[in-house]
């Protein structure tokens, strides 16, 4: 059994209440930080832990904190990103529902480290039940003296508020989130300036994902060095993986980074294999924005070694044969799934969610959606695949925020790895609307790598 740092007590009845959470050792990290550590000590500990942002980009959390500007007399803010809208990702909802105090405790420690006296948790509006859960947890923590003025006699004051969003994927992008929190449309800002210099209300701000903030608790309790011993290489600690699609046991799993993808999919400790005795066809490993890989490439690297659940191993091979850990939204496709249909579905998602500020993203996502839809309906042309690749290239890297890239990669990677399936849709239009292409060779062992001639 892998170590559990975030979900260790998830099955304890009443762990969602302050009392039980506290009995299980909760709020020790607040006591330790506020009573025995300076703010710099806390930042240093997080740096040592090697913790990387769990929201998608994987940027080292301690380093992000150390970039925060600290001009005199200007308030600083910590904003928690609980917008969780990346298709395939549902770990933050799980954490907030079942063990809300883990996030509140992390918010207190992180706010202390950053010198923030007012902090916000921006929760996507559809998670109204979680808004209520967090509000209740905040009231309990305040009652117990862990929030408010002069917390534990340390002289540190903190007010914590929950902000519901209005339903818009783009508000997960940190600058769009800040705009939204200021009561505006969620249009991403042009960077620089980065939020660390000018964020909420123009003040220095750190935006962190729910899981990143909750992970600060074990980092402080165990110490950064101990935390860094878990995991593999620069992928330290544990990670929550949201597993969905055609798996026997979908759900949220806490893994030690570095277990093999094969173990994660097939072992009984985790997903228990593919549902209904089917075969695995493909996986999107890190939320809808990351490249899709056929079964053989997600299970093994191009050189035949096993692929691991880590930032490095999942991205091994770059865009040619790799993908990304992203938000940990692990979506499994069985042999009956149609890659063209799913690619169209994702393209529609991005076209719907583009904020419309940049022409390449606004126009390009809509265009890709249309072309993919006609392919799916058996009305595609053999030139459509090249057209899609060319549109995706024109979006990629030419936009204000990374949503453009996020829309381009799934399409480009689907065509790269499943081109024969797209071509089949063009050459067999009647069949394509009735049935699926099936597994083809996607689950075959990788051909041995031929040694390059010197």
């Amino acid at each position: 059994m892998g170590r559990k740092l975030l979900l260790e007590h998830i099955n304890v009845p009443g762990i969602n209440t302050f009392q039980v959470y506290r009995e299980k050792g909760g709020y020790r990290a607040v006591e330790k930080a506020l009573k025995t550590m300076s703010t710099d000590d806390v930042v240093e500990e997080v740096k040592k832990s090697g913790l990387r942002g769990r929201g998608g980009a994987g940027f080292p959390t301690g380093m992000k904190w150390s970039f925060l500007a600290k001009p005199d007399g200007v308030p600083r803010y910590l904003v928690c990103n609980a917008d969780e809208s990346e298709p395939g990702t549902f770990k933050d909802r799980y954490l907030m529902t079942h063990i809300p105090h883990a996030l509140i405790e992390g918010m207190i420690v992180a706010s202390y480290a950053l010198g923030a006296n007012t902090s916000y948790i921006y929760v996507r509006g559809e998670m109204m039940p979680q808004v209520r859960i967090l509000e209740k947890a905040i009231a309990e923590a305040k009652q117990a003296g862990f929030l408010g003025k002069n917390i534990l006699g340390s002289g540190f004051d903190l007010e914590l508020y929950v902000q519901p969003g209005g339903g818009a994927y783009i508000c997960g992008e940190e600058t769009a989130l800040l705009e939204s929190l200021e009561g505006k449309r969620g249009n991403p800002r042009i960077k620089p300036p980065f939020p660390a210099i000018a964020g909420l209300y123009g003040c220095p701000t750190v935006v962190n994902n729910v899981e990143s903030i909750a992970a600060v608790v074990p980092v402080i309790n165990e110490g950064g060095e101990e935390y860094a011993k878990i995991g593999i290489g620069r992928s330290t600690g544990t990670k929550l993986i949201s597993a969905s699609g055609n798996l026997r046991k979908p759900g949220v799993y806490e893994i030690e980074l570095g277990i093999s993808v094969e173990d994660f999919i097939y072992s009984d400790e985790y997903c228990g294999g593919i549902a209904n005795g089917k075969k695995l066809k493909a996986v999107v490993a890190g939320g809808s924005s990351v490249p899709i890989l056929p079964a053989n490439l997600i299970l093994n690297l191009a050189n035949g070694e096993k692929r691991l659940m880590s930032y490095e191993s999942l991205s091994e091979g770059g865009f040619a044969t790799g993908t990304m850990l992203g938000s940990g939204g692990f979506i499994a496709f069985d042999e009956d799934q149609c890659i063209v249909r799913n690619t169209w579905n994702f393209a529609r998602f991005y076209a719907h969610e583009s904020c419309g500020q940049c022409s390449p993203c606004r126009e390009g996502t809509g265009w890709m959606e249309k072309v993919l839809h006609r392919l799916e309906l058996g009305q595609g042309k053999s030139s459509d695949m090249d057209l899609l690749v060319s549109v995706s290239k024109q979006i990629e890297g030419n936009t204000i925020c990374p949503l453009g890239d996020a829309a381009a990669w799934p399409v480009a990677s689907a065509i790269r790895h499943f081109r024969d399936e797209f071509e089949w849709h063009v050459s067999n239009p009647q069949l394509a609307v009735k049935q699926n292409y099936g597994l083809a060779h996607y689950a075959d062992p990788l051909p041995p790598v031929v040694a390059a001639e010197a």
């Binding site: 969780e84 298709p87 009561g183 979908p250 759900g251 799913n342 994702f346």
Partner: protein, 171 residues
Amino acid sequence: MLRVEDTTAVEFPAALISKCQEIIGRYPEGRQKSALLPILHEVQAVFGWLSSNAMDQVAEMLNIKAIEVYEVATFYTMYFLQPKGKYVLEVCRTGPCCLVGAEKIMDYIGEKLGVKEGEVTPDGLFSYRGVECLAACGYAPVLQIGPEYTFYENLTPESVDKLIAELKGKM
């Protein structure tokens, strides 16, 4: 689409006004506009949708221009600018849910209610629509119903029948 011709008179109940005041208190001096999204949720929970008159009152309360409210209300998907059925069944239609049958469930709901996506049943009780990923993909297919956004997971035709019967019973 924003209904600017709307003339429905709206009066905010005292409880709503005091809730709005509490929300405004969460932000620093002069940053009351931050309260806009949460307040729109509160107003919608009371009236079922956002009429232009209701939005104008929100603008007044926050001391901002009405257009600043319309701008926001039209950007986000959760605000209704038209009256809707009492229960809006919002079914996730994004990839991971479709892998395990979300499209079939949505068709089933349409058949069962006898209306098309977005239309309201003649008794004014139900409408349904597809929405994007609800962060519940592991428990798919899923739907949510406002204003508290209660979740219904692992949907089957039987569980949909049961849910609709229950909601009808609640009238």
